[in-house]
């Protein structure tokens, strides 16, 4: 089967192999690690490279067509986040805090996913719409904001309920509760928007757009040619961290493990279908789908720990980094690519449902 072959081929790329290597190194308790300064610098570098690349592409291809995909992506993200919450709270029986935290971790997007996706496409000789980097930037804070808003509303409601059972005219305290929620939200909003990931990504998109291909030339070697090599180094560290977390998967449980595999595949597939329908290219649809499939494991802890401190980070970090990320870059990405290729080149009417079922 084609997909299996592609998964196999993808498995044998340096990026995936060094990731698996990192996992093994952590499992045999090797003292190998990438120094903190390097692994803190690499995401900044990767986002700058992604942004510059996206900005330059947008200058070439224009961004008039960006708006519809962007709003569809926002809509899907919010929808997905709410859907995750229902599944986690009702089926998974997680508490309110963990449910919202997990829902937004999977509603959010992952920049490392995106880097690996870009590199995968480069390897396949396929390009993608530059404006998807801009969608990445816009989606980044979205799911968090929704989750925080919902959590605080829920908490405020609880407080209100409690208060009313005591006395009936305690509206001031509830107002205080709501005000606190607002303060918290505006703080998180500010934190998200000024968060390093978004800032470097948006900044680089703008700079890429301004300088264009010519202006990029003198820095192309650093910000383009070295891109895949840099990801490889980053993947060693990601593998090590994922490997260290594997023990925690027991704590994650069967339900969340299944969630961490099925949801990305589902969201990703929807992403590819919708974006193909919107007219994105083969590569663009893959990147769009990957965004929908991705979960956030670098930005999430930083935002959620402040915003929903009651939620357990061992749940959302472990499932996103230890399960979803490896699954996505090894399995989901080739599946989305096959699906997108098929949709873009397949002749006549396609029985999508059958196709997807075969994909599993």
């Amino acid at each position: 089967m084609e997909i299996l072959e592609l998964i196999q081929a993808n498995l044998l790329t340096p990026i995936i192999l060094f990731f698996l290597f990192g996992i093994i190194a952590a499992r045999i308790k090797s003292d190998l690690k990438i120094p903190a300064a390097i692994s803190e610098f690499l995401p900044i570098y990767l986002l700058a490279a992604i942004g510059l690349h996206g900005g330059i592409e947008m200058r070439n291809t224009g961004f008039e067509n960006m708006l519809v995909p962007m709003f569809v992506a926002i809509g899907l993200s919010l929808l997905f986040t709410l859907n995750h919450y229902q599944i986690l709270r009702r089926l998974g029986k997680f508490n309110l805090f963990d449910s919202y935290a997990l829902a937004s971790t999977y509603g959010a997007v992952g920049a490392v996913h995106f880097s690996v996706g870009l590199s995968f496409l480069k390897n396949q000789g396929v390009s993608s719409e530059g404006y998807i980097a801009a969608i990445l930037a816009v989606l980044e804070p979205l799911a968090f904001i929704l989750a925080i808003f919902m959590t605080n509303m829920a908490v405020a409601k609880q407080i209100k309920a409690k208060k009313q059972s005591f006395s009936d005219d305690d509206s001031t305290e509830i107002d205080i509760g709501l005000n606190q929620t607002k303060t918290k939200l505006s703080k998180v909003l500010h934190e998200s928007i000024t968060g390093k990931a978004i800032v470097i990504l948006l900044g680089s998109i703008v700079i890429g757009y301004i300088i264009g291909k010519d202006g990029f030339e003198p820095i192309k070697i650093v910000f383009d040619d070295m891109f895949t090599g840099a990801i490889v180094i980053f993947m060693i560290e990601m593998g090590i961290i994922a490997g260290q977390r594997l023990d925690d998967i027991k704590k994650v449980g069967v339900f969340l493990t299944s969630f961490a595999i099925i949801i990305p595949l589902l969201n990703g597939t929807i992403g590819v279908l919708v974006s193909t329908a919107l007219g994105l290219s083969v590569g663009g649809a893959v990147m769009f789908g990957l965004l929908m499939a991705s979960a956030s494991f670098i930005a999430a802890p930083a935002v959620l720990r402040h915003a929903i401190p009651q939620a357990k980070p061992s749940l959302y970090i472990t499932s996103a980094l230890g399960i979803t990320f490896p699954f996505n870059i090894i399995v989901t990405l080739p599946i989305l690519f096959t699906l997108s290729t098929f949709l873009h080149t397949g002749e006549g009417a396609i029985d999508l449902f059958n196709f997807i079922m075969e994909g599993f």
Binding site: I240, I241, F297, P301, A302, R305, H306, I317
Partner: protein
């Protein structure tokens, strides 16, 4: 040189709680403190490997005894439940007590 007795409050906590602590200090009008990143082990397991957000930080604050009670109380009330955190108090002597 006379040394004046004051208190040193040391807080070891996960790095993402640092902001909350600084805020509490500010609320009590304390703007002097020293911080540095550390690794650690405790009830919440080994900390300091992997992601930066999984590290610990130490926050050290020299302060007068008067403020200590309130600050310690507020930190323990708002942060002990949800964050990896340990705090302790020691007696120290300083030259310029008016600084703190």
């Amino acid at each position: 040189m006379k040394l004046y007795n004051v208190k040193l409050l040391t807080i070891t906590c996960e790095i993402l709680a640092q902001e909350n602590i600084i805020e509490i200090l500010k609320k009590h009008e304390i703007t002097g403190y020293t911080t540095y990143e550390v690794d650690g082990n405790g009830a919440r397991g080994l900390r300091g490997q992997g992601l930066k957000t999984e590290k610990n930080v130490k926050v050290e604050v020299i302060m007068r005894e008067e403020k200590l009670q309130d600050i310690v109380e507020e930190i323990s009330r708002t942060l002990f439940a949800n964050y990896a955190i340990v705090l302790y108090v020691s007696d120290i002597g300083v030259l310029r007590p008016e600084k703190f």
